[in-house]
Structure formats: structure tokens, C-alpha cells
């Protein structure tokens, strides 16, 4: 997993959830992170789209439940763009 991507995702989630950055890890998910609620998630998805220049469709957003999921998604999309 790309460390820079994960670090930036943690910063974004910390901003929108109100949870301290150092309490977040790849295992942080909507189920185990109290401030990662529906409003935070919608804002986070929009911020990730802008930050990494990727498109997150609603169907994707339903499946992206943890920081690790998000990092894998961002890496896959950016790699696909780079190769194509």
C-alpha cells in the first residue's frame, strides 16, 4: 500500500470525521470509527475525487468501507490512468 496515499487519506478522514489523525489506520472503517458517519463519508468521497482526480460512483462508495479499501481503490484507479 502506498504510504503517501494512506497518509493523505488519513488526513482527509481526520478532517471530516473529527477523529485524531494518529488514531486512524488502514483498518479504520465506517463501523469502527465513531465520527465516520454518513455526512463525513459523502464529504470524504468528494474530497478524495478532487484530491486524487478519480471518480467515485455511488456503487463504489457503497463498497468502500475502510481506509484500506479507499487506498486500494485510489491506487488501482491512478495506476489504470497512468497505464492507459
Amino acid at each position: 500500500m502506498n504510504e503517501a496515499v494512506m497518509r493523505r487519506l488519513r488526513e482527509l478522514l481526520a478532517f471530516y470525521s473529527g477523529v485524531s489523525d494518529d488514531k486512524l489506520s488502514p483498518a479504520s472503517s465506517r463501523d469502527n470509527t465513531p465520527g465516520w458517519d454518513s455526512v463525513a463519508n459523502l464529504s470524504l468521497m468528494a474530497a478524495v475525487e478532487e484530491e486524487f482526480n478519480v471518480t467515485i460512483l455511488t456503487g463504489d462508495a457503497l463498497e468502500l468501507k475502510s481506509l484500506a479499501d479507499l487506498a486500494r481503490f485510489v491506487e488501482a484507479r491512478t495506476a489504470a490512468k497512468a497505464s492507459g
Binding site: 465506517r30 465516520w36 458517519d37 454518513s38 455526512v39 463519508n41 459523502l42 464529504s43 468521497m45 468528494a46 475525487e49 467515485i56 460512483l57 455511488t58 456503487g59 462508495a61 457503497l62
Partner: protein
């Protein structure tokens, strides 16, 4: 043994509730609510505490999930509207018959979430038995019964739906205000409404007994008490004068 264990668990919950850092009236309402459920007295006896919210301008626009289709629902959506939160289809049809607005969030063929609004001046009376009828002005909408499918909960699809529906009420349907209540234990919904720009008008505590109900309104430094027939058409204007 399992029944004894469940009873002990409930007693512990009640004890925790009583010790919680909250005003005494609030703790008593919660204990009353749990007791009536534990003793299987509901719906004959209902004890509840609701926070009443109001918004008077369109909420901010959240970005993201641009492919979620938000539209007015109609009778063709009956099955989804009834299934998402297990609502009686007859009730859904009644809502359409009286002109209530349903909004749905749709992805492909699947409806992921819905939310309902009732327009004044006809009072909203679905909460009569548990609480009260809600008196509404002609340009006031009552927000109720929002829900998302289990697979879409906490994803943000409901936020997107609710925000777009509210914006449409203010821009296209002449809404001056939208009001609604949330049970005070429903923390996620309270947070959602506050972030959407809703303001708290006050708190309504209700003790509904067979035949009669007692309501206590607290808000903006004012406390009011009302005693009404349980199934009577007593309509409460918010905030009460």
C-alpha cells in the same frame, strides 16, 4: 437461565441510564421508555423524548455521488417504499392519496433510500397515538420517515437524497420552513440534521397512557404542559405559543 440473564442485563441498562450524565427528566424518560418495552406495555404505554428541528432555508449542496438519481417517488415505487423500512403498503398509498411528497434515491434499478414530507396546513397526524398531531402553516413541510436500505446505511446516499429533496422543497415548492422530530437517542440522525443546517426548536417529552397523553414542551426558555385524549385530534403548533 437465559431469561434471568436478559432480565439482569436490562436492570443493568436501567441502572446505567439512571447514572448517566444528563438532566433528571431526560434520564427518567429513557428509563420509562425501556421499562415499558421490557414489560411489554408498548404500544399501550409509550414514553418518549423527541427533539424538534426546523430549517428555514435550503441546505448547502454536498458534492459526491453525482450518479445517484434523486427524484419524486410515486405509486410505482410502492414496493421499495414499503420494503426499505418495513412500512405497511396501505399506509404508503394513504400518504400518496393525501398528497405527501416521497423522494427516492435511485441507483440503476435499485431504490436505496427514501424520505417523506407532508405539506401544511392540514396537520400531520401519523404520530397522534404515540405523541401528537403536528399543526402546520401552508408553507411548512413536515419531514418524516427517512430511511436507507441496509446495504446503503452510513454511506452518504441518504444525506445526498435528503439535501436535494430539501433544496427542491425550498426552490420549487415554496417551502418557508421544514420541521420534524428525532428521538433523542438517535445520535446519527441528530448529527445529520445539525450538519444540514436544522436548528433545534425544543424538546417534547410524552407519556402516553391508555386514553390519555401528557406532553411537556421545553424550548427557548419556555416550558409548556399539555394533557390530551390519546386518540384525539389535538394538534401542537411548534413552537407552542
Amino acid at each position: 437461565l437465559s431469561a434471568l440473564s436478559r432480565s439482569l442485563g436490562r436492570l443493568r441498562n436501567l441502572s446505567d441510564e439512571l447514572r448517566r450524565d444528563a438532566p433528571l427528566a431526560e434520564r427518567l424518560v429513557h428509563v420509562g421508555d425501556r421499562l415499558t418495552n421490557a414489560l411489554h406495555l408498548a404500544p399501550h404505554v409509550r414514553v418518549s423524548r423527541r427533539i424538534v428541528f426546523e430549517i428555514t432555508a435550503a441546505p448547502p449542496q454536498f458534492r459526491g455521488m453525482r450518479d445517484l438519481v434523486v427524484r419524486r417517488g410515486d405509486a410505482r415505487d410502492l414496493r421499495a417504499l414499503a420494503t426499505i423500512d418495513d412500512t405497511d403498503p396501505e399506509l404508503v398509498l394513504e400518504r400518496f392519496a393525501r398528497g405527501d411528497f416521497a423522494y427516492v434515491g435511485q441507483l440503476g434499478d435499485a431504490i436505496l433510500c427514501h424520505t417523506w414530507f407532508h405539506r401544511g396546513p392540514q396537520p400531520f397526524s401519523e404520530d397522534r397515538y404515540a405523541c401528537a398531531d403536528w399543526a402546520l402553516d401552508a408553507d411548512t413541510f413536515w419531514s418524516y420517515n427517512g430511511a436507507a436500505a441496509a446495504t446503503a446505511r452510513s454511506s452518504g446516499v441518504f444525506v445526498k437524497l435528503f439535501q436535494q429533496a430539501l433544496r427542491e422543497l425550498f426552490t420549487d415548492h415554496g417551502a418557508k420552513r421544514v420541521q420534524g422530530f428525532i428521538h433523542d437517542t438517535n445520535r446519527p440522525s441528530i448529527t445529520l440534521h445539525e450538519r444540514m443546517g436544522f436548528q433545534r426548536l425544543g424538546t417534547l417529552s410524552t407519556v402516553a397512557l391508555p386514553g390519555v397523553k401528557l406532553l411537556r414542551w421545553e424550548g427557548d426558555g419556555i416550558t409548556r404542559h399539555f394533557l390530551a385524549r390519546r386518540d384525539g385530534d389535538f394538534a401542537l403548533h411548534l413552537p407552542p405559543a
